[in-house]
Assembly symmetry: C2
Homo-oligomer: 290 residues x 2
């Protein structure tokens, strides 16, 4: 596996690996890899001839007071894990390599989609995400790019950017990977103190209970307010949990809904703070296959 820092070296690597006649799978990450990331890399490995993993903590998607500076980094460990999972290249550029001097071009998905859920408390976050993902797609030019369902809103927004701008690639969204007790894997879990860590699985438990209610077919269990109540009750039982949002929207458009129609899928999503640590989780509510 090659560790590459510049776009120039990456070009050369492509040249020398006959990239033109290969399919390329791309897994963009901010590093500090966990089993969630590794599931994306393995899926990319299974689907493509070449696999590129990027590790880039993108300053543009962090707001003032967020954890850009202290975002966890461990490139040596990442390198080892990515290689074992099947990556051919780790692309680990500096910020100056991605954002050329004087850079001022922004790619933004406008509308409700980017203002709801995490967009409400993180107003510049998704513009930073779409801009860097657009740049990375232009540099890597993948046939397929892999994102986790954990960041459900991000995946929906990136799919929309790709469709709206006719970017020539496929977005593949992979299931959430969880710890044994149900906590969704996240690089930010390492911030949790022992008591917070014990209480954190309440996010998933609440979402699960709402899912069970919904799947039971009980009449009022398609109602969004009822389902939100179930989730809230479970999370509020944990004294260290501060709920930022619990929401249920249409699963494709994030439009507001009052109840979940039989033919539609809904996204139930939560953001909860434990001290300074902000955790998110979600589940798809759908009667069909998903």
């Amino acid at each position: 596996m090659s560790l590459i820092k510049t776009t120039r070296e990456l070009s050369d690597w492509f040249e020398s690996h006959n990239r033109k006649n290969m399919t390329l799978g791309f897994v963009p990450t901010m590093g500090y890899l966990h089993d969630g990331h590794l599931s994306l890399i393995k899926k990319a490995r299974a689907d493509n001839n070449l696999v590129v993993v990027s590790i880039f903590v993108n300053p543009l998607q962090f707001g003032p007071g967020e954890d850009y500076e202290k975002y966890p980094r461990d490139i040596e460990h990442d390198y080892k894990l990515a290689r074992e999972a099947g990556a051919d290249v780790i692309f680990n550029p500096d910020a100056g390599e991605i954002y050329v001097p004087g850079s001022s071009t922004e790619v933004e998905v406008k509308g409700d989609l980017t203002k709801k859920l995490c967009g409400a408390s993180r107003p510049i976050h998704f513009k930073g995400v779409t801009t860097v993902v657009n740049i990375l797609f232009n540099i890597v030019r993948p046939d397929r790019a892999y994102f986790g369902q954990k960041d459900a809103q991000q995946a929906i927004i990136i799919k929309k950017m790709v469709r709206d701008l006719h970017m020539p690639l496929e977005i593949v969204v992979c299931p959430i990977v969880r710890e044994k007790d149900g906590l969704a894997m996240s690089s930010r879990n390492m911030y949790l103190g022992p008591d917070e860590r014990k209480q954190a699985p309440a996010l998933h438990r609440g979402l699960q209970k709402a899912h069970e209610c919904f799947m039971s077919g009980a009449g009022d269990c398609t109602r969004v307010d009822k389902l939100i109540g179930i989730i809230r009750q479970e999370i509020e039982a944990e004294p260290l949990a501060k709920i930022e949002y619990i929401e249920i929207f249409d699963g494709d458009t994030l439009e507001n809904i009052e109840s979940i129609e039989p033919q539609r899928r809904a996204l139930a999503a939560v953001a909860v703070r434990f001290g300074n640590t902000r955790l998110i989780d979600n589940i798809i509510l759908s009667m069909g296959e998903d």
Copy 2:
């Protein structure tokens, strides 16, 4: 030559023409082709294996009250001219083909560059241009794209977008093509009444006189206010001309300058209205080669 209306047909055409092993030159236009456009197509023909010309009057780059509806269109004539100039494909999509339903993703070059000159009177114009050009580049995936120096600010902005977003292509800017009397070719020249048409070459005459002064090496002829005065005098002599702007900026960054440094190039640019018709023109002021 093929006339293609959809991205799907264009993909198929690429497939059947072994596009992967060819270089592709792209000339994006709004149609109503004149010798200026044809010079771009001929240059693309000389540089590449395949040449695609798009004809798309982009609603996003016209403000309210601008001439989107009445912008001149003549696809039959365009088809003939583009073929003679060497195009392999005319791509002539409907607006619904470029902007998918619910489309809301914008690509914007932020900063002074898009607010000056034409950006001052056309505040959404360049955002519309960068968004559609980004989309067209993603659809056509050219190795080189050709733009006219006539739209100097547009060319600078598109170059910046491509550099900032690492888009994998080269932007080639070609010289202004003029009528015999010096009027820069433009699809909008057909709007001019006979008296307006007679007075319109004053834009170029003014720019030429500034250029002559600058090249003379006379001491104060590197001063921006002096050069602007020369241009203004020439254009104001025409009674139907209403000056929108006469400006001289750094030729690469459009930064404000007071005088033209020996090692730099400057852009002298004008926008002038004759009745409802808005004309633009420009010239590069540089002691070096250009």
